[in-house]
Each structure stands twice: as C-alpha cells, then as structure tokens.
Point group: C2
Amino acid sequence: MPIVRFTRQRQAVLEAVKNSREHPDAARVFEAVRHVVPNISLGTVYRSLEALADDGHLLKLQQPGRPTRYDANLDGHHHLVCDSCGEVYDVTLAEMPDLRGLVQHVVPGFEVREQRVEFHGFCSRCQKN
Amino acid sequence: MPIVRFTRQRQAVLEAVKNSREHPDAARVFEAVRHVVPNISLGTVYRSLEALADDGHLLKLQQPGRPTRYDANLDGHHHLVCDSCGEVYDVTLAEMPDLRGLVQHVVPGFEVREQRVEFHGFCSRCQKN
DNA sequence: TTCCATGCAAACGGTTTGCAATTCT
DNA sequence: AGAATTGCAAACCGTTTGCATGGAA
C-alpha cells in the first residue's frame, strides 16, 4: 500500500530517522518526533515507519530478539552487529561476491532473491567485558 | 551457565528437536514433548532450549518477527529462508568464501567473529501467490 | 466530501520471570 | 541437606489493531 498522504507526522518520522546518526528503533524515533509533533502517538510512529519502509524511503533493519531499527541510508551496504550491545554499523564493501548461484539448485523450485550477509562480533567498547 | 543436570525434560526437548525434520519453534517442541513428559510446562521448554543452545547442543535460529526456531544439525551450514511462509532450509555449501577480512578494518577495534549468510526468497509452494 | 491517517487504549504473541515445590542423568 | 530445575501463572515488551475522530487531497 503506497503512501497517499505525506502528512506532518510522516515527514517528521522520516526526518527523525535521517537526522539520527544511529539506526533508531520506534521508541527512539517516538522520543525525537515528540519535540516536533508533541501529541503524536507511538502507534502512528510504528505505522509511519512501516509505510515509509514499504515505500522504499527507509530500510528496515530487523535484529532478532531486539527492536526493529530503521536506516535512512539506502545504498547497498552490509551490517556489522555487536552481539553484546546490539549496535549496528553500516559497512560499505567495494566487492561483495554474489553467492546466490551457489544455492540456486539446492532446494528445488526455490527462487533465491536476496543474500544477506551479516558480520557479528564485539565492538571495541564491549570487548572490555 | 552450563547444564548441570541432564533431566528427563531436557533430554526430551533435545530429542524432539532432533527427531523433527523441520526446525521447530518452542511451541512445536512443546506439542511434541508433551507426549513424552505430559505435564512439562512451556516455560521449561523455553528454558531447556535456551540451555541446550548455550551448551552447543542446539543451534538457535532467530528469524526477526517470527518465533525462534531450533536446529539440531550442528554442521556448518547456511540457511535458505522463505520470506512468505518462514520455512527454513539447511544449505550445505562446499565453498563459502571467508568475507571477514573485507570488514575487519572498517570499524576500528571491532572484533569480527562470525559471518552469517542467509539467502532469502520464496519456496516453490509460496510462489503460487 | 471523501476516505486516508491519527490518537488512544486495549489486545496480541512470543518470551521471560518470580516463587514455592520438586528432584537429583 | 543443598542446589539446580520444574510447573504455574503473571508479567514483560515490542508491536499491532479496533474504533471513533480529524484532516489532507
């Protein structure tokens, strides 16, 4: 379902994600947006993020077991996830081999659309544990 | 915390995952285990799965937005995820390039432990939508 | 003047947790 | 006798949804 009305709320939500240097989740976006649209509701933030992601304005960054984060950086890039604090870093890689061919034939009839490479580990801050 | 007592419940939970041809989630394991340990509780199933995964007896297969699935196949393998029905297929790849080196230097001090490649798409059944 | 979008609050679903009772491969 | 583990139920937390109101096209 495409966005029909680009309302004040949705603009503010999009701006909030763009202006954030991290990859904020709904709660953080809510915090930030309240300063612009004081009586916005959390439900609207969720619906706006969903709509903006569906429309390709945002990237949905789903971390299992953690709140979904959103990313306004639309370039093809990969993610470096700290397994301790959950922080997600963007990683732009010049050369990422296309691995889809390796898999294509394994499960008959499966249509491989996308490969997702995530690198996991511990950021410098969390290594001190 | 390592498993100290390998109780009837935990054995049954482990067996249930091993005997399942799919990658069952806690609810499915609960179903299966009740036939063996009738009055086991769902909480215990969760705690057993967690403990078994921590101990390396099971692999935790977290799909964002979907219930966590468990995998008794401990060989290094990758996953092929149907974005429509959520089914997860194991994929054993003879040659998987090590991509960690590409990333190592991007975020200073980050210790890259693991690379996770997931292939997403649609299984043959779901393509008929 | 539509009907899409919002605010609110309640519901949802998977998972976790507090606690007293049980059990000890 | 001590400590790990269990069953039970309630709490948790991120997210979704129903519904009446509001506002953009």
